[in-house]
Amino acid sequence: MDPEIAKTQEERKRMEQQLASMNSVTFDTDLYGGNDRDSYVTSIPVNEDEENLLDSMIDNEVARKLASYTAPKSLLKEMPRGTDENDDVFGGAGFKKPQRIIDREDDYRKRRLNRVISPERHDAFAAGEKTPDPSVRTYADVMREEALKREKEETLKLIAKKKKQEEEDAANGVESDKSSDSAGAPKRRNRWDQSQDDGSAAAKKAKTTSDWDLPDTTPGRWDATPTPGRLGDATPSASVGRRNRWDETPTPGRVVDSDATPHAGGATPGATPAGMTWDATPKLSGMATPTPKRQRSRWDETPATMGSATPMAGATPAAVSFTPGVTPVGGVELATPTPGAINLRGAITPEQYNLLRWEKDIEERNRPLTDDELDSMFPQEGYKILEPPASYVPIRTPARKLLATPTPLGTPLYSIPEENRGQQFDVPKEAPGGLPFMKPEDYQYFGALLNEDDEEELTPDEQKERKIMKLLLKVKNGTPPQRKTALRQLTDKAREFGAGPLFNRILPLLMQPTLEDQERHLLVKVIDRVLYKLDELVRPYVHKILVVIEPLLIDEDYYARVEGREIISNLSKAAGLATMIAAMRPDIDNIDEYVRNTTARAFSVVASALGIPALLPFLKAVCQSKKSWQARHTGIKIVQQIAILIGCAVLPHLRSLVEIIEHGLLDENQKVRTITALSLAALAEAAAPYGIESFDSVLKPLWKGIRSHRGKVLAAFLKAIGFIIPLMDALYASYYTKEVMVILIREFQSPDEEMKKIVLKVVKQCVSTEGVESDYIRSDILPEFFRNFWVRRMALDRRNYRQLVETTVEIANKVGVADIVGRIVEDLKDESEPYRRMVMETIEKVVTNLGASDIDARLEELLIDGILYAFQEQTSDDANVMLNGFGAVVNALGQRVKPYLPQICGTIKWRLNNKSAKVRQQAADLISRIAVVMKQCQEEQLMGHLGVVLYEYLGEEYPEVLGSILGALKAIVNVIGMTKMTPPIKDLLPRLTPILKNRHEKVQENCIDLVGRIADRGAEFVPAREWMRICFELLEMLKAHKKGIRRATVNTFGYIAKAIGPQDVLATLLNNLKVQERQNRVCTTVAIAIVAETCSPFTVLPALMNEYRVPELNVQNGVLKSLSFLFEYIGEMGKDYIYAVTPLLEDALMDRDLVHRQTAASAVKHMALGVAGLGCEDALVHLLNYVWPNIFETSPHVINAVMEAIEGMRVALGAAVVLNYCLQGLFHPARKVREVYWKIYNSLYIGAQDALVAAYPVLEDEQHNVYRRPELMMFV
């Protein structure tokens, strides 16, 4: 804030105070609170920063006073808000907006963007005995680089440490002058300290500018400002490192650019690990690390495509486009890149693009107003133009200058802009040649496709590149058919394109920060297909691919993880174990934990793909690495991940895996000890319940460990023990549990959340083990357990909550209901609602598992009392915990609830009348849960009463609540029967008829169930006219989306037809066959069939067959379909009707319309199957004669139906008859005919091979081949 403004504010405040004191109306500050104006914002913030600050303050719950009670923040955030989210543009749920991956990633996952796609490596297999070309990166090179990087990291850490110490020393030194001499002496030894001693100004300078901006005194590889010329030549640099941020020295020209790209990955040069000091470092490390002899720089190997092979500089695509050759064009004369500069650079990042667009927009609006404009705005009189005060100085700070409108150098004269045909405006240029739409962020990858170069002039390599780019763009952004063909082409031509060009194109796309889930899925698919084709050619690119794919392994999306696993598994199968190990070995002791973590996971996938035994020797070596603890840590982590990944398949290798990692328990590094214990836990969990003998060797160190360790290590050790105990024999398990329990109980009090969870888990494991007796649990564990864990705080964290409930339920399984419920029942009246909910859930689970017979009268009273209290006091119950708990307890107690029922019903009635819809719904739901118990208690009068109350609420307007009320009515009707129901059925049903019109799914389902139930059991209570009315309503319900509703509707038709006779219902249904909608017709045909089944076919068939005379396709097909269903339902009853329908089927089978024949064929099938063995062969043969000519149909549905009809005939007529039909065509001169006949023969043969033996034709012998089968001619 400017000092000027501050001054004005100061003055104003003073004036206000004076005013306040003048009219001294004193009011009681206790009553009315202090002067509220203190909290007013006295000025509107100028900068955006301040505003953001305010926003974040408002967001900050701690800072804000709780103004009123409202829903929890998490809920509010979850609730869909209509206006401000784009999701709703498409109308919500159905259309999910494509999501960018980066938006849902946390900081840790975002670290994937820090990784660099490494250059390809030497393939020892392909090269054979040859010495690798020095320009190729070999395993040794990579290892050396890694070692160098590690060393550098350590040195930096040391320096930081030392500096800190020295600062402390210096601080001490100021206090005691006498030590200054001795402190000064060692300082002078080091050069980097001198700058510090130069005084505050120098120190400050060093801080802000970082010393490569200083003229360099030590020409070395840290040396500043890599001028374009110098970058190219082979500077003797050891920093061949792939991620060397020292190379990324910000040159003056570049600063602007890198500022212009606010990168999500945070990979800008500023992103140094903590604990690293920038000032003074480089010189030292330049000296400290001797330059290796090999003087090869990665600049030698010119990447084939700029930016794809080696995006070195911290993986920022922005930096890529500013590689030496390109930089100076835009940045020199313009302070800010104007839109015109866009394609001077070629590619821009999407961020840049947006920034530019935004900037242009803002500039347009914020341009200074001219005097003319001001004149036209203000009235002529009453205003006068003032001179600016003498003290006014325009802002000259460079930071603001940057935001100002760019003025070209020199006089701003108008010059005719040169027409630039390649320029892209806001509307993206249409891609040539039917390529899909390109998003702004795609330009940097696919921009080249927009250049209208003549394809003929390109070199073959360039043409290939172009082709790959086109295909990839089609896969990424194209329509499904485009995508499909492009994917196929990529796959087919993979070897032709070659691994290099392909991966150089695909992999950078996957590192794109704006990638969406769907796009990633597609690209990963491309890799998968291509991998399969390339096979061993993929070897040099293994590490590149891993860099991109490994992050998928820790993605939160399950399918992404599976995809990642699949790719890595295929990769390892293609490249082979040796290459995989060579590629991943350097990452095992990488300084970055993220890299090590993902590498461990990838290794576990390799192990599962190539088999654990193959990997064992390598793992053994890594786990025993003397050089770095990181390697050991990662090695052991690999074992853990293997156990998690492949589960019980570790069993054959369990002993060797345990042996490999067991020494880690005694490692000097704490992290290694922890991960070892966790790995053992994972192994034990995977192996459960077998394999205890493999863990023998680690029991002792674990045992010692839990006595000597504290904190995190102890937690890990406890976890290991907790998972090993369930594998033991009962006797040992009991012993070990008792031993470990002492420590567990001690740790009950630990405030550490992680420890709490582990302790709970271990208690659960131990308690559920066989040998642990209930007495011991009751006396030794329970008191402490409940004292420490059953506290309100535990209910607040979801994971704690769940773990605690699980553990308590497990304990209850051992010690019984009474103990557990008795201890927590009082807490149902606790004042914290989450806590009450946790108690309720536990009680529900325990009582459901074990019943309520243990609960004595006193406890029962307490329990019901508590439950009623908790139920009434609840404010929200989204997960239905209270409802389920109430239902479970009441059902478990059974008849013992009788005394409490009036009270419960009172509560329910009261809540049914509540203002909140949720409460009403819950009350109605509760009725349907406890209806059965009320019946058991003979409280029919009470239920009748509830029925009347519910009846009165049928006017409910919230569909969810109405659905629940109908459900409750259904439950009551079900238990008390139709006769005793109050209100009487004849009153109830007419109220339900209009509700059938409701389109809400829940209402429909409950209503149709209720109506169906009434139609089934109490149809006589309702006049036939009412039923007919309902029939009409039911037709509408056949449109429902939910299958259950449609099925219930169709069944209801059957009940109604039974009640009032089929004629009227049938007439309604037959009319409905004329409707257009297919699903509706199908359901109608089913309904007709069901009516026929319930009322005997003879009541239906005449009308149905009569309907066939209507000359309308849909109706006729509907009739045929009904016949098909009908014969399917009535089965062998069909023998009486087969002769009746045969003429109709004859006609249908001869119809021109395919669907007629198809449906008739399926009717014939059902008929044949139904009447098999009942003496209807004559009719069936007749029908078969009509079916047979259809065997040459090609439409899949028709041919299917025909084949099935023939199969049905095989069952009904016997295989011999059908074989005789077949024989005429098996050796037909036309192949098309033979094919069909052989198909029929084959299905005949598979269906009834044995029966054919007697029916085969008699073949005559040929020369020396005997075909006769004389045996069958024998006769006794």
Partner: protein, 85 residues
């Protein structure tokens, strides 16, 4: 085969049929079919005890002998067909 045919049930049906020995196809010749018939027949005779008993009575042989003879024929067919095909 048509494109639409490739994924529907019929192709599965043909695949299923092709898995069984003894099923045929459009290019099967008379000899091959006859061999299949012979094999099936003799396997069926051997497999059904009542049929064997019936043949035994008709030929006045023991049931064991009948079974042996039938097996020999089967083996002969197997050898012959191997020879010729």
């Amino acid at each position: 085969m048509q494109a639409s045919d490739r994924f529907n049930i019929n192709s599965q049906l043909e695949h299923l049929q092709a898995k069984y020995v003894g099923t045929g196809h459009a290019d099967l010749n008379r000899f091959e079919w006859a061999v299949n018939i012979q094999r099936d027949s003799y396997a069926s005779y051997v497999g059904h005890y009542p049929l064997l008993a019936y043949f035994a009575i008709a030929e006045n042989e023991s049931i064991g002998r009948e079974r042996y003879n039938f097996m020999q024929v089967r083996l002969y067919i197997a050898r012959m067909s191997m020879f010729i095909i």
